[in-house]
Amino acid sequence: MTIEELFRQAKMNRDMLYEGRITHVLVGTATCGRAAGAMAVLEAFRRETAGSGIDVRVTEVGCMGLCSQEPLVIIIKPDNLTVCYHHVTPQIVHQLVEGYILGDDPCLDLALGTVSGGDGSPVIIPELESFERQQRLLLRNSGFNSPLEIDHYIACGGYAGLANALKSQTTQVIEEIERSGLRGRGGAGYPTGAKLRACSEAAGDSKYVICNADEGDPGAFMDRVLIESDPHALLEGMAIAGFAAGARQGYIYVREEYPLAIERLQRALAQAAEKGVLGSGILGSQFDFHIEIVKGAGAFVSGEETAMIAAIEGRRSWPDQRPPYPAQSGLWDKPTLVNNVKTLALLPQIIRNGGEWFAGMGTKQCSGTALFALAGKLVNTGLAEVPMGTTLRTLVYDIGGGIRNGRQFKGVQIGGPSGGCLPESLLDTPIDFESLKQAGAVMGSGGLIVMDEDNCMVDTARFFTDFSRRESCGKCTPCRIGTCQMLRMLEDFTRGQGTLQDLDTLQSIAEDIRATSLCGLGRMSPNPVLTTLRYYRAEYEAHILEKRCPARVCKDLTAYYILPEKCERGCDHCVLACPAEAIFSDGQGLKVVDQVKCTKCGSCEAVCPPEYNAVVRLSPVSLVPAGRRTRPETP
């Protein structure tokens, strides 16, 4: 079938769906939605509408990127508003069915807003400020189109980019991608067109395309959401890349921890083969392209391209010295194109709308959009797609809604364990590969975690260094031993040990690791240490000189203390919750924490009723009044 025929057929199927007299309920059932209870909501809609006598179709969709609002539901009712509801529970389902599906009340008090877009243009909720600053290319279908139905994708112009490409010469396709200025979204920002050209011009007739869906940064989940929400964009992008590079086989290396993404990919692959947009003789052309899924077995270093190739070959995921680059000699020593999910998923739109179109977005050096996973202490966590060059401040405040609970902003970590922590004063840094690098962070693959005054920067550096140490593959010495050394020093600081001179030693070890490691894991592992030393030195000094953790996180420097003026005497919550039996009553019935017995597990703070809020943390521990430190000896 030609693409035109496919499109007509898909459009007809889809229109029958959406333009008929049917009410549609879309339930976001990506991983984040499921964790918040979406499957129970889905089930409730099916149950409540089953006997209602009207035609209602309940469909599973992906994620709109509003993770803190999950479970999300969209109701499309003929001749009525399309409305998006948040924090939906089975009880609310009952209300919605009675109110809006059977009745005429759109229950706006339960709604997040109305929905516009779809059919190719990005789906947005105009009432939400967080959508105003966004430009959604990758997310354009997310949370609206069904990831389970290829017709939804085709009806919105899907696979037309591949059809265009197949009618052109490979060089024309490469030129178009070069014109777009697209740079790799996997972290390093290498120009995609140049990589494609190198692979296409490399000698050899077996070539491969690998999609890097390893997403190892512990706090980033954009690639997972994209695959769960719009898997065909990736498949189409891979086929285009395969055509341009001269490859007939592609592999998607995806984390085994993403079972839903794998399931949706498998389904999408089967549907694409059935429609003839993947497989042999795609869309009636001479071009064959097959895609296989390879499940990663969990190692951060596997995200590095040469290590990934080793993993696909069935070996330990050890990185290799480059050059030769994979584009010359990669999988089984054949020319191999390795690209990130987002890079590949952008290709269909670039081919369909032209390189100029893409180059017109973002900045001159970095065209297009950047997709971030916002997490941490923000009001709105989830996904955000913004034009390159948008400032961090816009992401944190306009889209992220600022810091939760009125706390103070402290820093933002970009790029996970390979990235850096940037302070308030750098919030006006525009998001692009060069500006972030200059500030000491990296674009990484797009994890962005916001910290507030309750987070300790020394502890954060320790956390990331511990991650890199665990994940170091051990092949090169600077990374294997250096990360251990850095960790040991950071652990000392969190205990109030060490000297100011140690800070300089730490700095020089970090710089050596950066200069001498074999692969990016080692080379970038000192970034959290180097940036926190650069921007938060005072916090290190407070730990070392004053034995004080300003955020009251580091256990050895912090004491739990019950404020006598707030303690309610009669309430025994803390006493019952304490697993160490460290809390006792003084002569007046006020509770006291025995500092010798206390294991600092945090239970008392968590159970103290909010109306009393009597448990506080003090740092340094010498702040605990002398008379209230231990149980007095009973005579």
């Binding site: 991983t31 984040c32 499921r34 964790a35 918040a36 209870g37 129970a40 993770c67 803190s68 999950e70 190892g216 940064d217 512990p218 706090g219 980033a220 989940f221 997972r224 085994e256 921890e257 993403y258 390879v294 499940k295 077995a297 969990g298 190692a299 993993a311 696909i312 070959e313 069935g314 070996r315 330990r316 995921s317 996973a373 997490a375 941490g376 202490k377 966590t381 989830g382 970590q413 996970g416 994890g447 975690i449 910290m451 987070n455 954060t460 956390f463 990331f464 991650f467 593959c473 919750a577 697993p579 597990c601 945090g602 239970s603 968590a606 159970v607």
Partner: protein, 163 residues
């Protein structure tokens, strides 16, 4: 492992080095872990020295070499969960289950693991037990949940169920 599944895992089409990890994953998903015997069988099937199979299996975080508990407890130690107090939750789990991280209880009821981001950062800190996800955990919630899971020994506390 039944013979049909075994024949599927060790099918002729997979007698290549590149299927090593794949095969190990399939065995683990059937049996819950990789036994010595299973790895030897894989080595023979692929004509590899057992040390090569062991070398690959121990490299990756996914593989385990002891049977997991019937209720595998996984505490997320990704960045968002760490910043929201995941460490205290992990310690509480270890204390209440009387288990070290990576260990399985003697009655095989529980095992305890730390994992990196499971993709629900908005609900941090997160714990999963089997297929259930427990969002916004605190040390006292750990106790509540475990009490609910062992009703026989319950101490009559109530709490929210999984979502």
């Amino acid at each position: 492992m039944d013979t049909a599944r075994k024949a599927e895992i060790f099918n002729e089409g997979r007698r290549q080095r590149r299927h090593l990890i794949d095969i190990l994953q399939d065995i683990q998903s059937c049996e819950g872990y990789l036994s010595r015997e299973a790895m030897q069988e894989v080595a023979a099937f692929l004509s590899l020295p057992p040390s090569a199979v062991w070398g690959v299996a121990t490299f990756y975080n996914q593989f385990r070499f002891t049977p997991p508990g019937r209720n595998p407890v996984r505490v997320c130690m990704g960045t968002a969960c760490h910043l929201a107090g995941g460490q205290l939750v992990l310690e509480a789990m270890a204390r209440e289950l009387k288990l070290e991280i990576g260990a399985t209880s003697e009655d095989r009821e529980f095992s305890l693991e730390r994992v990196a981001c499971i993709g629900c950062c908005a609900l941090a800190p997160v714990v999963t037990i089997g297929e259930s996800v427990y969002p916004k955990m605190t040390p006292p919630r750990v106790e509540e949940i475990l009490v609910q899971m062992k009703p026989a020994e319950g101490r009559g506390k109530s709490g929210d169920g999984p979502t």
